[in-house]
Structures are given as structure tokens and as C-alpha cells.
């Protein structure tokens, strides 16, 4: 891996995970990812963030291209999650840094991850600065963005914000900068990342964005810990984050289903046809094909979620239970929902799905619809009617949002 000088005397020394499939085991990363780490060459040579344990030698070699390991003075740990800290025990042993900087919560998190009482950890508070020589680092606590320990590091001399997981995307590439990629693709990957990792903390995102604005920080480069570095589209990614955090929705509905003998699928298809005729943009996603993280990626800007599952052993099908559990945890706000499904003898699934959605704060304007075994034309007309009513609700929701 080539090291890249991203600003004068600031080098990307991260690693590329070309072949990862499942990011942290819950969100797909089809384009791979990177674990970005940065080495600042100054009077105090400082490493910002690390990489997973399995890439520890790569990070070591990257650092070694610039300095002898023992020349490293400081390590800044913006976030203790293992993909940015797993290599730390190895790197700390090799480099013996004079100090390791982290947030108040970072100190606790380092202790409970690595159990190393001998590390020279120094807590930095929100707004505190340290001098590296010619360059300074100002720390900004970014609690719950997306862990309690998260902080950002800002280097005013270079107008550089090292932003931990915020503004990241799962993209493995030998091209490290935003302007070397298609912007639409980057924003769509940033949305997928945001929805699956950061969405539950949208309130904190809004607060942090406001604080950065009010602080008057001049930023012309944002370096997240995953994916490409923003230098030509800083404004685009910041406004995209404002939009993600505000959970702005479009006249779009995600129709998600699992089915055994295609009755629930037929019902949902009839509902979707009617929605399309009303001008709603729909996605029709089988959970046998689409991973829960990809459904959420699509749901990110959709006004409505419609779930269909037949009743199986007095409940919903297991893939639907997986999806709904995952969806609920991400706490989407201000959405419309509906449920339907076929059944053989008991028919609990539509109500059970609706219950999860109600508990998640969805507006559920229609009663769950169930059909015994195989739907007739009349049943499908009922599904269409649901689609038309929901389309109306979606349009109301979207117009109230822009009004």
C-alpha cells in the first residue's frame, strides 16, 4: 500500500481491506473498506487512529516507511472500536509512544478493551488543544457519533478534520480522494454507511454539525476513518449529513417481504402496483435476496415501509424477524408503515410485524391485512386499496416536510 501525503507532512498510513464482505458482521461492504490512519510529521510525530488487529503488520510497515517505530511520540485514539484500535497493543509495544491521547470515555473504553494499566494514556477534554510543534491539534468530543468515546481531531494549520467514523464510506480503493471517484457513488455509499451505523444517533449528528459550524473551524479537508478523503466535495458531504440526520424522506416506499408459496408476495405486489400508479417510487425487496443492511440503505430516504410475511408457526418468517429487529435498533423517525400476509390457520404475522413497527414509532394508518392461503382477485383489490391509501399518506408526509 502506498503512503499518501494528504497535507504537507501529514501522511495516510492506513490499510485497505479489499475483500471484506460483512462490515462488523451486520452491514454489507460490497466495495470493501479502508481503515484510515494518519501520521503527522512534526516535532512530536503523531499517529492518528489505527487498524484492526489482523492488519497490524501492514500499519507497522506503513509507519516504518517514514520513521523508525521508536520515533513515534504520540498516538491519538479518536475511537476505540476494534477496527481502529485492534493493532494498538502491537503498535504501542513496538513504538513505545510517550503519550496516548483519547477522550474521557475513550480512557475507560481502552481500559476495558485492552486491560493495559501501563499505557501512557492522557485524557483530552472537548475543546482542548495540544501542540505537536508547528501544528496543533484541537479535540472535539463527538459523543455517540457513534460510540460514547468518539472524538474528532482538528488541525487548524491544515484546515483538516480527522472525523473518525463520521463521513465515512465502505470503499476500498487505491484512489484515496473524493475527486477521483464518481460523487453520486460516494454519496450513496456514505448514505448506506450512515443508515446502518450512525442513524440511531442522528440527534447527536445535528448537534455536532452545529457545534462545528458555530466554532468557526475552517475545514477544507475531512478525513474519515473509512473510505475516501473529502477535499473537493467537503460541502457536499456536510450537506448530505445534514439531510441524513434530518431524515428527510421522498415519495418512496420500501416493500420488503419473505414468502413461502408466494401468496404474501402477490399481495405486496398488488399493493406496490397501486402505489406505482399513484407515482410513488417503490423498491420491492425479497429478504432472501437482500441483506437487512441493503434494505435499510434503501429505506433511508423512503417515507414508508411495508412488510409482508406469511404466518409460520404462529409468527412471522425468521428473515422478517431478523430484518425488523435490525430496523428497530436503527430508530428511523417519522415514517409510515403497514403490514400484510397470508396464513394457513392462525395468522399472527401481520399483527406481530405491526407491533414491532408501532413500538418503533411508525405511523400505522391501516389495519394489518391477512388472507387465508391464496388471495383471490377481491383480496388483491383490497391490497391495491391499501396501496392507494398509503400513497396518499406518503404524499401528505412529504409535502408537510417541505412546507
Amino acid at each position: 500500500m502506498a503512503i499518501v501525503e494528504i497535507k504537507k507532512n501529514i501522511f495516510w498510513v492506513g490499510t485497505i481491506d479489499w475483500n471484506i464482505e460483512n462490515f462488523h458482521g451486520y452491514s454489507l461492504a460490497r466495495r470493501g473498506t479502508t481503515y484510515n490512519a494518519f501520521l503527522v510529521m512534526d516535532e512530536k510525530i503523531t499517529l492518528f487512529d489505527a487498524v484492526p488487529e489482523k492488519f497490524k503488520w501492514d500499519l507497522y510497515h506503513q509507519i516504518f516507511k517514514l520513521i523508525k517505530p521508536e520515533q513515534l511520540d504520540y498516538i491519538v485514539v479518536n475511537h476505540v472500536e476494534m477496527d481502529h484500535s485492534g493493532a494498538l497493543p502491537f503498535i504501542v509495544d513496538k513504538c513505545k509512544p510517550e503519550k496516548i491521547f483519547c477522550s474521557t470515555m475513550g480512557e475507560k473504553s481502552l481500559a476495558s478493551h485492552f486491560h493495559r494499566k501501563d499505557w501512557p494514556v492522557q485524557v483530552v477534554k472537548d475543546g482542548e488543544s495540544i501542540a505537536l510543534g508547528k501544528k496543533n491539534v484541537q479535540f472535539l468530543e463527538a459523543r455517540m457519533l457513534h460510540w460514547p468515546d468518539t472524538m474528532f481531531s482538528y488541525i487548524p494549520e491544515d484546515k483538516l478534520l480527522i472525523s473518525s467514523d463520521a463521513f465515512g464510506q465502505n470503499i476500498a480503493s487505491s484512489k484515496l480522494f473524493d475527486d477521483e471517484h464518481d460523487l453520486e457513488l460516494l454519496l450513496s455509499e456514505a448514505r448506506h454507511y450512515y443508515t446502518n451505523i450512525i442513524l440511531p444517533f442522528s440527534g447527536f449528528v445535528q448537534k455536532t454539525l452545529n457545534r462545528v459550524k458555530e466554532s468557526g473551524m475552517q475545514i477544507d479537508m475531512i478525513a474519515p476513518d473509512h473510505g475516501v478523503i473529502w477535499r473537493s466535495h467537503v460541502g457536499d458531504i456536510v450537506s448530505a449529513y445534514e439531510e441524513f440526520a434530518a431524515q428527510k424522506v421522498k415519495e418512496k416506499a420500501v416493500l420488503v417481504f419473505d414468502t413461502m408459496w408466494h401468496s404474501s408476495e402477490k399481495m405486496l405486489k398488488a399493493l406496490g402496483d397501486a402505489m406505482m400508479e399513484q407515482g410513488i417510487d417503490i423498491r420491492f425487496m425479497s429478504l432472501k435476496k437482500f441483506h437487512h443492511s441493503d434494505v435499510m440503505g434503501e429505506f433511508s430516504d423512503a417515507a414508508a415501509l411495508i412488510c409482508a410475511s406469511p404466518t409460520h408457526n404462529n409468527g412471522m418468517l425468521p428473515l422478517m424477524a431478523d430484518f425488523l429487529t435490525y430496523m428497530k435498533g436503527l430508530k428511523p423517525k417519522g415514517r409510515i408503515g403497514a403490514t400484510l400476509g397470508s396464513f394457513g390457520w392462525s395468522g399472527e404475522a401481520p399483527k406481530a410485524m405491526a407491533q414491532v413497527m408501532e413500538d418503533s414509532g411508525f405511523d400505522m394508518p391501516l389495519s394489518p391485512l391477512r388472507v387465508k392461503n391464496v388471495p383471490t382477485h377481491d383480496h388483491l383489490s383490497e391490497c391495491r386499496k391499501m396501496g392507494i391509501e398509503l400513497a396518499g399518506k406518503i404524499k401528505e408526509r412529504v409535502s408537510s416536510q417541505s412546507g
Partner: protein, 53 residues
Amino acid sequence: MEKWVCEICGYVYDPAEGDPDNGVAEGTKFEDIPEDWVCPVCGAAKDNFAKEA
């Protein structure tokens, strides 16, 4: 009445407001909140709260 801060995420429990979404009426002292109540923001247990300084 004293406010309490979640030491995990920074949420502040204000007794004047309570946490009505989760069954805690306004005017409820922190000490009187049921032990199984959790931080409405991050889900941390009640023993993660400290009195606001």
C-alpha cells in the same frame, strides 16, 4: 430538584420534564424513577447516571 447526567451519552434527566415517553411523569425525582428505567437516548442503565455538577 437535581438534574442527573448520563455518563455514557451525556443525556440530562430533568425532573421538571420527566421522561413521559417512557412512563416517568414530570416532577419525578431521579431517585424515584424505577430501577429498570434506562437512558432514553443510549439505553444505559440507571446506575450510569451522576448528579449534574
